[in-house]
């Protein structure tokens, strides 16, 4: 029997209620606090599963975050890059670009529920209202708009040279896509299903994030993120993070923006109000996509090292786990509360 199980069984009923009282310096209260802390730790430690897409293995691996052990591997794929959780949280959609399909995986178990034929899906995301799924095909130069209910293709737009990552306006009306080969961001009206405009941002733009009325775009061919005003279509400022600026993600609590640079191999903590870099974490191996654990840990795929990294933001400690070749997309189950 594990320590976690003992602690759980030893808990008295209504312990949650008792924790709400002011804690006085009695032995029983301290013991209760410790017990609850252990339960919380164990619950998250037992439940945390890290999904990693090894793009050139190609495979999907499921890692137990507590032990670092691989608990499952799905093979027989062609080239997996990105993944997204369905709006109802019941399915992980994993895009196999060269395999021309999306795998629907149950996040809690890793079981493949079904596969759908989709033309060369690279990056994909649901609109904030959950009604549309937008899929970028890097190699086929297209952006597809699907009805999220039933995956019916509504529109295929020719989108220039290497459409890469996708972001949305909060009202779900406009999709913004980085066009890597053209050095631009493309705006697509999702209601009229047409291209609105294209604005230059810098060489090889990659990750993109809607942030308080602006678009923050990773300029992979430079050392910064560009802050683009979608109204004026002008780059208003830049955030220097290191060579090969790549992707950017908000922390679940909204208190930090986390950005990666693949060439300089670092992860930057950015203050969301001022867009100033708070701190750099040197993470060798080409950090790419990020995901957040319920315990606050930041997980990163290390493209050139065949590993994932777990970064503890409090201590700055980094540990790595071997996963496979060229790991790209990453997801932690359960997802940290937004």
């Amino acid at each position: 029997m594990s320590l976690c199980e003992i602690t759980h069984h030893d808990l008295p009923p209504n312990s949650g209620h008792r924790m709400k009282r002011p804690i006085i310096a009695s032995l029983s209260s301290w013991l209760m606090a410790i017990a609850l802390g252990l339960v919380t730790f164990c619950a998250s430690a037992q439940a945390d599963l890290v999904y990693v897409l090894n793009s050139t293995d190609p495979s999907i691996v499921k890692i137990d975050s507590r032990t670092g052990e691989e608990v499952r591997r799905i093979e027989g794929l062609r080239e997996v890059h990105h993944l997204v959780l369905s709006p109802d949280g019941k399915e992980l959609l994993i895009a196999d670009s060269v395999g021309n399909e999306i795998l629907f995986v149950e996040p809690a178990t890793g079981n493949v529920l079904r596969r759908e034929r989709i033309s060369n899906p690279y990056h994909l995301d649901f609109t904030p209202d959950g009604r549309l799924l937008v899929v970028a095909s890097l190699r086929r130069g297209q952006v597809d708009i699907y009805d999220a209910n039933g995956l019916r293709l509504l529109e295929r737009l020719r989108a220039g040279n290497k459409p890469s990552h996708i972001a949305f306006s909060p009202d779900s009306r406009i999709a913004y896509v980085t066009i890597q080969g053209d050095g631009t961001v493309m705006a697509i009206d999702l209601q009229e299903r047409r291209i609105l405009w294209q604005a230059p941002v810098g060489p090889e733009p990659a990750g993109i994030l809607w942030h308080r009325g602006r678009l923050i775009v990773g300029i992979m061919g430079r050392d910064h993120f560009a802050v683009l005003n979608p109204e004026t279509r002008q780059v208003e400022s830049t955030i220097r993070v290191g060579r090969g600026a790549h992707t950017i993600f908000p922390s679940p609590d909204g208190k930090t923006l986390w950005a990666t640079s693949r060439v300089q191999s670092r992860i930057a903590e950015i203050e969301p109000d001022t867009l100033q870099v708070r701190r750099f974490h040197e993470v060798p191996g080409g950090p790419d996509c990020l995901a957040f654990g319920p315990d606050g840990a930041v997980w990163a795929t290390l493209r050139w090292a065949g590993r994932i990294a777990r970064l503890d933001p409090a201590s700055g400690e980094v540990s790595t786990i071997r996963v496979g070749r060229s790991p790209h997309g990453i997801f932690v189950q359960p997802r940290a509360a937004q």
């Binding site: 050139t56 495979s59 080239e79 034929r117 190699r139 693949r262 060439v263 050139w304 071997r322």
Partner: protein
């Protein structure tokens, strides 16, 4: 052990990429082909491993039981250049950057039509539980494809004009396997890749499959006096069996022993010659001298000229 080797391979690939290639890509605004370049480093390292394995297996045997003495080291050096270019050089690089994009578009168009590429495992579900058997069947099917490609190389005029570079070598060694015109290599890669795609070879198995097939092919070109015996000669292509194919009386449409791995195809299609005591001289007597003795570039140019002047077919 395999996991440890694989990890070393990944680390070395990443180190080479991060230390040498990525800074160059960044400096030249080519970061958008970073993925393809990483794959190329991965492939090149695997190829180096393949060359080392081939050398370790073949070189001692060539020294121990040579068919003929080495009299033309320059010709062997040219073949080494062929090998390095074919396995590490510009062709694999272009293949990764260009062909992967073309392949992706073609597959996407297939997906648009609703056609789902079958795999052996989807046609024969019991194979899902038998990966070794599946691997063997893939090898057999691909080898069958290689047999027919090889026969067509000998019977179609312009194709033979390219392939005769391979046959012109009079100082045959295990390095000769990669002595091919670059257009011939391109066609071969497309042929092999298309069949692999159609039968659904897993990308994870592909490098191992290539390694195995190339090892046997290089071995069969070796300057080694070795026959596999009455039964063995009918199971696997030996140096003797393939040397007969390179013999001076076996050029163009007069060819025998086309098989690459399994002689059964020659047996079935009446192109086998199991005369086990023969180790003929190799070369193409009708080919221009420079195709046999010139440098890489000269051979490529002459091969190209002969291809477009179909009337000059030897």
């Amino acid at each position: 052990m395999f996991k440890t080797l694989d990890d070393w391979h990944t680390r070395l690939t990443g180190w080479i990429f991060e230390t040498f290639l990525q800074p160059a890509l960044y400096a030249t605004d080519l970061m958008n082909i970073a993925d393809e370049m990483l794959e190329w480093v991965d492939f090149a390292l695997f190829s180096i491993f393949g060359i080392i394995v081939t050398y370790i297996v073949c070189r001692p045997l060539e020294a121990w039981r040579p068919v003929e003495p080495v009299t033309d080291r320059r010709a062997i050096r040219t073949d080494i250049i062929y090998t390095l270019l074919a396995r590490l050089g510009i062709f694999p690089l272009l293949a990764f950057i260009l062909l992967s994009a073309i392949q992706s578009r073609l597959e996407g168009m297939l997906a648009d039509t609703g056609f789902v590429t079958p795999t052996l495992e989807s046609l024969l579900p019991f194979l899902q539980e038998a990966p070794l058997l599946t691997f063997f069947i893939y090898v057999v099917i691909l080898d069958f494809g290689e047999y027919w490609r090889h026969r067509l190389q000998h019977t179609i005029g312009w194709w033979w004009a390219l392939h005769s570079i391979h046959h012109a070598q009079r100082q045959m060694t295990f390095w000769t396997d990669d002595r091919n015109h670059i257009l011939d290599e391109t066609i071969a890669a497309l042929w092999f890749g298309t069949i692999a795609l159609l039968i659904g070879v897993s990308p994870a198995q592909f490098p191992l499959l290539l390694l195995l097939m190339r090892l046997v092919e290089a071995f069969s070109h070796g300057n080694i006096r070795l026959s596999f015996g009455r039964i063995g000669e009918r199971l696997l292509v030996s140096p003797r069996y393939h040397r007969l194919h390179h013999g001076v009386l076996s050029v163009a449409e007069h060819g025998k022993n086309y098989a690459v791995l399994f002689p059964v195809w020659d047996w079935l299609f009446k192109t086998a010659d199991f005369n086990r005591n023969t180790y003929p001289r190799t070369g193409d007597p009708a080919a221009p001298e420079l195709i046999a003795t010139g440098g890489w570039l000269t051979q490529q140019w002459i091969g190209f000229k002969r291809m477009i002047g179909i009337g000059e077919k030897a």
